[in-house]
Symmetry: C2
Subunit: 192 residues, 2 copies
Amino acid sequence: MNVMNDSPRRKELTRQAAQLFVQEGFDRTTVRMLAQEMGIKSGSLFHHFRDKQEILAAVIEEGTQNALVMAKAALEDCDQSAEARLQAMARAHLQTLLTDRNAHVVALYEWRRLEPGARDHLSHLRDAYESLWEQVIDEALEAGLIHGDRFLVSRFVMGALNWTVRWYDPSGPRSTDDLAHELVAMITHRAA
Amino acid sequence: MNVMNDSPRRKELTRQAAQLFVQEGFDRTTVRMLAQEMGIKSGSLFHHFRDKQEILAAVIEEGTQNALVMAKAALEDCDQSAEARLQAMARAHLQTLLTDRNAHVVALYEWRRLEPGARDHLSHLRDAYESLWEQVIDEALEAGLIHGDRFLVSRFVMGALNWTVRWYDPSGPRSTDDLAHELVAMITHRAA
DNA sequence: GGGTCAACCAAGCAAGCGCTAGTGTAAATC
DNA sequence: GATTTACACTAGCGCTTGCTTGGTTGACCC
């Protein structure tokens, strides 16, 4: 029970943990499995993390933080039209879902395994990300690009995007850009 | 290790198991917790189910079967227009997500905990349900009601609908009919 | 060249896990 | 009235779990 910093070593261990959590699920991943994957013994693991819970929290935090950073960058880099911003958000979301796939799958599937304390902290991060989305959806509504209830539309869009982790095959014929384009086309009433 | 029938007793036990699986997750739900919830001792549980796995499979089968039945009924009862059929499917999906909420949440979150044998069997059920969707999406495409890639559109729609289990509040102001209506409006290019 | 410190290890504890074996019992069946 | 069946019980086996303890190692610092 020594440190809880974010050393590069810890970052790397977190990345490896994420992969195991995806493969096996959080509860089925034992500290011994984690240690073996990391090339250390199970006891040594608790030098880097207070307990197993903290590893889960670290994985999810890493993924969510990256998503937030990428989304902000995408919005700054793109054209200011409502459609371009909508597309940029969708593209960024799908890209981060791909590059940090393990962390995001864990966040989606194992969120409820978080203890209340960690959940509170990470909720704020997630809310920050989702409010970015609602903002862009608002702009699209005001621009008349899409219609409907702001709350429902943003939930439907998030659902469609997050569901992709269950079926999207990066080695298949469709790029994440294709998906983003098609999704925006579907809700903005233009031909694909 | 006696029977694996589908007696009413077993149905009731399955329903109770579903609730615990949602609350705690499959792996964290112990056979002792299940037994207590059912009002019996842990040993007695194995008179009704071969093992813990079989309880999970029973929960998921129950939910998926109901979804299939409800979807078929909805399609038979509704108007034959592409839009009406699309709406009927969305409404049926949301209703079954609500009435069999526990079973569906388990199916969504714990699918990967199924052993290969059970997974194979249940995959067929799920495929049958999804092919209903693709059929209705096809009709909507042919009718010019929606545009885009058949595969992508059906995945996006399923994602938007399934995601509702994470945020939909049945005691809130919106009915499942509202949701179905809004979703269809969103993708068919009409005002809500 | 003694002190510091992050990183790791070996060994194991207490608790909890899924599941089994063997038995009791009341109702249904012959 | 004997037998079977369905359902429940008690007791516990063999194993795994998350985590702790006490100690070692090697790189860096002054």
